[in-house]
């Protein structure tokens, strides 16, 4: 089975944070980037061939993924390939939607002649065993299996909802139904029998009935054509971090000692690419509580219920509370940061304040400079 991670979106709901980088490359939890979860799930599930489809500001994502070795995805005749737009004799190949991105990269998929293709999204925080889903797909003799998350009926109107029969076969798909009939929300995770999907895609583009999106176009077509389509329910921590609010929320949940994601589980490790940075240094004046700190950090201030990513410097007298600071940010002295996300390489000058509220998280963009410049040392 080959996996395709759709990592392409502009992620414009993340505002400043994704101005110059792709959403899956956004840092998470002090030591990770969002895509690490999908890539680690692949390795842990025995999926060793992964295409990462991306077209928006891919530099940082490329530098992060490199040859996939950090996630064990660098085997011979397998590995990670980053798939960006390109030109062919037929013209430019841009990606217009989830299904279209797969259509445009058919040649890549066919290099491996897979019987099954696993479609994933690159911007969810979760740990999932795709092999279990794959076994379900084979047991059900499905043509398509959709990963679904049971949500509360109250939340259901916000999702694409799968209505199933008693065999878990999907009989109806409703996008954001006002009156949901079920609570099974699509996670944007699909296992397709590749030859079948390929035929549907080729036919659709041959006939101008272009299937651009899996939710809008492909699933309805599968249901209409009576393709055996099943829902596979996932139980566990799952978070879409597509907005500032949800990204902050997920980071705060990550801080909880007993949070359901269980990052410390040695049976299901989450891998990432790491540089060899010096150990963190907590000075005489520092107070660090209820916090996560990683290598390369220098902490002279107070850190409370916050996450510091790699190489973050915090000067004396500064207070960081309920916040997430991304790698290489430099925070001067006597700064107050509260309910905030500070972007990579941002510089917060001495005495500056970055204060948000639980409902309106403050954001400092990548490389943004606030207040007067501080000594980077």
């Amino acid at each position: 089975m080959l996996a395709m991670i759709l990592a392409g979106g502009q992620g414009s709901r993340l505002g400043k944070l994704t101005k110059s980088t792709a959403k899956p490359a956004v840092p998470f939890g002090g030591r990770y980037r969002i895509i690490d979860f999908a890539l680690s799930n692949c390795f842990n599930s025995g999926v060793n061939t992964v295409g990462v489809v991306t077209q928006y500001q891919p530099l940082e994502l490329n530098a992060h993924i490199q040859n996939g070795a950090s996630w064990g995805l660098d085997e011979k005749n397998a590995g990670v390939t980053v798939l960006q737009p390109f030109a062919s004799r037929e013209g430019e190949k841009w990606f217009e939607g989830t299904a279209h991105a797969i259509y445009q990269n058919m040649d890549y998929i066919d290099l491996y002649s897979p019987k099954y293709v696993l479609i994933l999204s690159g911007d969810h925080i979760y740990k999932m065993d795709y092999e279990a889903m794959f076994n379900y797909h084979k047991a059900k003799k499905a043509s398509l299996t959709v990963g679904v998350l049971p949500v509360s009926m109250a939340e259901a109107p916000r999702f694409g909802i799968m209505n199933t029969d008693e065999t878990e076969r999907i009989i109806e798909f409703e996008e954001k139904p006002k009156q949901p009939k079920s609570n099974l929300a699509s996670m944007g995770i699909y296992i397709f029998n590749w030859p079948t999907l390929k035929k549907y895609l080729i036919d659709s583009y041959a006939t101008d009935m272009k299937m651009e999106d899996f939710g809008k176009d492909v699933i309805p077509a599968y249901l209409a054509h009576n393709e055996p389509t099943y829902a596979y329910a996932f139980h566990g921590y799952w978070k879409d971090v597509g907005t500032i609010q949800s990204l902050w929320q997920a980071n705060m949940e990550f801080l909880e000692p007993n949070n359901e994601l269980n990052i410390g589980d040695k049976e299901w490790r989450v891998y990432s690419r790491n540089d060899a940075l010096p150990p963190m240094y907590i000075t005489k004046s520092a107070r660090v509580n209820n916090a996560m700190v990683v290598d390369g950090c220098y902490v002279a201030g107070d850190i409370e219920h916050s996450i510091l990513s790699q190489n973050v410097k915090v000067g004396a007298g500064s207070v960081i509370r309920d916040s997430m600071i991304m790698p290489n940010a430099v925070i001067g002295k006597n700064v107050t940061i509260d309910h905030a996300i500070v972007g990579e390489r941002a510089i917060i000058g001495d005495g500056a304040n970055v204060v948000g509220t639980e409902d309106d998280i403050a954001v400092v963009g990548y490389q943004e400079v606030l207040g007067k410049a501080v000594d980077k040392g």
Binding site: G29, G30, R31, S70, P257, I263, G264, R269, Y271, S272, N274, D275, A276, P278, P279, M280, Y281, I282, T283, K284, S285, A286, R287, V288, N289, N290, A291, M292, V293, V294, D295, I303, I307, G377
Partner: protein, 389 residues
Amino acid sequence: MRQNIISAIVDLNEPDEALRPLTSNRPVGTLPFAGRYRLIDFPLSAISNAGIRDVAMFLPKSGRSVQDHIRSGNSWNLDTITGGIFTFPYVAEKDYSDPVNRKRYYDDYLTFLRKSDSRYTIVIGAGNVENINIEEVLQFHVDGNNPITVLYKRQDPKTITPDEAALNISEAGDVTAILKAKEVTPDAVNHMLPMNMGVYLMRTSLFIELMQNASEQDTYASLQQILSEAVEVYNANAYEYTGFYSKIDTVKRYFDANMAMLDEANYQALLFSQRQIFTKNKNEIPTFFAKSSIVNTTLLGTGSHIEGRVDNSVIFRSVKIDRGAEVANSVIMQNCKIGPGSHVKYAILDKGVVIGAGLKIEGTPEQPIIFAKGASVLHEADIDKGVQR
């Protein structure tokens, strides 16, 4: 074009008696240092930062820890398509009155020197904390008058023992001999001694000549002896190294060097210099500081979980310090656990030491108490497992 300008020799067979039990199952070169390094990271990073890609590594008896750490060498850019790390297995038969063993000793060096095909060779130890700019040393050598260059660090005579190797530097600034410290007069102004760092740079052709000559003798001379004699014969350029330096040859020096990293100036100068210190990457979760934790003036690796109090200490990866535990002035290596309410002071806990609840472990600044790898200290009586020396 990209030439093999310079290659390096690192010998991991260094005297380790005064570091036991820390070196009972590892050479000096793989002693953990400063929360996430091994001592050998310092020479290998210097080598890597100078663009050197040909390295001979003489493995010690306990080679496992070296190979586990170095692996393919990719952490130091030493897994390239040309060059790479050339390991020489440990030689148990060290009876050099036997000409076969003697020949093998010299042949190992000669094999590497001839194969590396580089113009210069640097010999560098694995047991020092230092951050040498080898490119600068090379330039200094090329500009110098003598065929050998030796590195030294000015040190306070009070901090060294009388038998340690120092340089005898002539008025013209040349090294004329390598002597014992007690045989060298401190400089008049600062009363400091130019201590030999054991780092030598010379043309590979001269090196080959030296080893060739030695191999034709009837008596055995070690590499250090050969180099020392060569300095007397040829004289050497004296390169003064001015950065952080600590020769790790006793427990006390090991302990002090770790504590020295808690001085912010040393931490910044050694670890955040332009010449990065590379080490093997480990995939670890962030270190978690609980609501109850109090941590000050401390270096920590990742993956640790701190509920208690830590002062003036070096804490490696994946250490667990329970609620109410207090650690001060100590070096706590990877995977140690300190139980609730226990106090640990002036201690060195090797990897995986487990301290139970409510215990009191205390050494002195002069004689920190050491617990060997994996020691289990669950009861009062187990504290006797600790050694002070």
